[in-house]
């Protein structure tokens, strides 16, 4: 039998996210339920979640979530990690055996801090070192994938429908101030465990519905800066672009959105706010290779917030709603109504118009 990737299974994607602006904790059950009305947007070849604020007891340590293909690769990778990190906790990520999710790799997590001596000798800042380590493992260690590497957050992903993946990972036992979710319908790339969303680096995570036609142009540019695209699907590059623009270049979220979903030159030319026009001209000129073309609706998760964004032509659906302290973002209004029937101010952001929601200062 041919596996997915060798044979094309024609099948959109679904995304959903929720955040409490007051930093109130929500169990993962809510976001799992949100995915249910969008079941038909996925085809069972990938589902995943990211939760923020879920590891308060280890909040000062990087939480590495990892897939291993065998015990030997795990031992080998642990030896590598121990030379670079102080590992204060290592454990299997608890899962349920359910018929809907099978063929799982060895799924493990480590809470760790980079060794000060290593940082000093490499003259690297902590986050840069962690990002480099993740790239090294994913590119150079066959059978090992780091699929989450932030502090006080974690990604959980698998091959399966998202609502089953949530049950598989026992997400009802975690509590976070924000959650994102994805149901996958792979069109051009294989459905495999590492290829499920979210794609993460440090505390950034991206869930994406769409297909990047500029993928290779984006990949060639970003790989000049030490990023390595190893996960065999397009969304990965968005995560690295966001890390590069936000962490390395120090752009604001709004500016990063204007780079990847840059307005048309004709739209920039028609702007009456001249400062704004100048800024957009500058950003398009500085980062032309980071313009992402093709359809996308994404939710970027980061420490203390979420950003939702559509491609400039708005070739994918996305709605936003609110209720009390919560903001909801999803591919379909039904995904919001199922968890908050009385959601208010339901609206669809325009293409290229970022929706940025942050938790109140000090509340996470």
């Amino acid at each position: 039998m041919k596996i997915e990737g060798q044979v094309r299974i024609p099948s959109g994607c679904a995304i959903s996210a929720v955040i409490s602006k007051d930093g109130n904790k929500m169990s993962g059950e809510m976001i799992i339920n949100s995915m249910k009305p969008m079941h038909d947007r996925s085809n069972g070849l990938g589902g995943g979640f990211a939760g923020y604020g879920i590891y308060p007891e280890y909040k000062d340590f990087y939480a590495f979530h990892m897939f291993f293909d065998s015990r030997d690769t795990r031992k080998e990778c642990e030896a590598f990690l121990k030379e670079r990190f102080e590992i204060i906790q290592s454990e299997i990520i608890p899962t349920r055996k359910i018929p809907e999710v099978t063929d799982e790799p060895i799924i493990w997590r480590y809470f760790a801090a980079p060794l000060k001596s290593v940082l000093a000798s490499l003259q690297l800042e902590e986050k840069e070192f962690v990002a480099k380590t993740v790239m090294k493992i994913n590119a150079e260690m066959p059978g090992v994938y780091v699929f989450s590497s932030g502090k006080n957050m974690g990604a959980f992903k698998a091959v399966g429908f998202p609502e089953d993946v949530g049950v598989f990972y026992k997400l009802e036992e975690y509590e976070g101030y924000s959650w994102t979710a994805h149901g996958r319908y792979p069109t051009n790339t294989p459905g495999w465990w590492g290829g499920a969303h979210p794609f993460t680096l440090l505390d950034y995570s991206v869930v994406h519905n769409g297909e990047i036609s500029s993928y290779d142009a984006n990949r060639r540019f970003i790989e000049m800066f030490g990023y390595k695209c190893t996960l065999r699907t397009d969304t990965e590059v968005i995560t690295y672009i966001m890390d590069y623009l936000l962490r390395v270049q120090g752009l604001t979220l709004g500016e990063a959105a204007s780079v990847i979903a840059a307005p048309f030159w004709s739209t920039i030319a028609a702007k009456t706010d001249l400062e704004d026009q100048k800024k957009h001209t500058y950003l398009r000129t500085m980062f032309p290779s980071l313009l992402i073309t093709g359809p996308f609706s994404i939710v970027l998760g980061f420490e203390g917030g979420l950003m939702a964004l559509n491609d400039r032509l708005k070739l994918r659906s996305m709605v936003v709603g609110e209720k009390d302290d919560k903001v909801f973002i999803a591919s379909e209004e039904a995904a919001i109504r199922i968890i908050e029937p009385n959601a208010e101010n339901i609206w669809s952001p325009a293409g290229g118009e970022p929706v940025i929601v942050k938790v109140k200062e000090g509340a996470f």
Binding site: P37, H39, A270, K314, S317, V319, R337, I338, S348
Partner: protein, 240 residues
Amino acid sequence: MQIIDAADLDYRAVNEALREAESDFIIEGCCGQRFIAAGISGKNLTINGIPGNALGAYLNNANITVNANAQDAVGDTMNEGKILIHGNIGDAAGYAMRGGKIYVQGSAGYRAGIHMKAYKEKIPVMIIGGCAGSFLGEYQAGGVIIVLGLHKDGRRIVGNFPCTGMHGGKMFLRGSCEDIHFPKQVTAKCAAADELEEIREYLSEYCLDFGYSMDELLSEPFTIITPDSKNPYKQMYVAN
């Protein structure tokens, strides 16, 4: 009146139930089920809750009333009948519709009326009460699209790039539209009395459906947009 409780039904089950239903019925607790009423004729249904994508796709001749917002692709390729939405609609409403009516009280997302067409007595009509997103009437080939701009949040009546690729049909936007940029291949001008007369019947039906007065709707001038036959699409790809 028969009631279909959709709360625990998937789209297949909802559609099976509605095919077997009497001619008049209500769907309660709808939440995202797709393809509702696809291809049906001869029925009147009311939907409470949020219908999923492609509501009334290929609708042959039925009346659908939605007491909430609707999602993407409402009335995709519909042939005849009427869809009434007491809320907003998502993207790509009325995609390639070739007959029937879609009346929306609220606003529309991107690409409303994309590739609407018409044939002989078949003239599809879409009326949007609020504003419309970008690419309104993209590749419009026939039919009538009317946007009333009755929304109150200060947004422009239509987003960017309206009428891109329009080559048939008519579009009416309430207001003078001085701040809207239209492509070179269409003509936009203030609608004359006889042109407004053509849509009077639709507007008056819309007023009855949603409780507006004709006087209110006609208190502002309308801009009519039609393809400019003197400036057709030529030499876009090759000299011909």
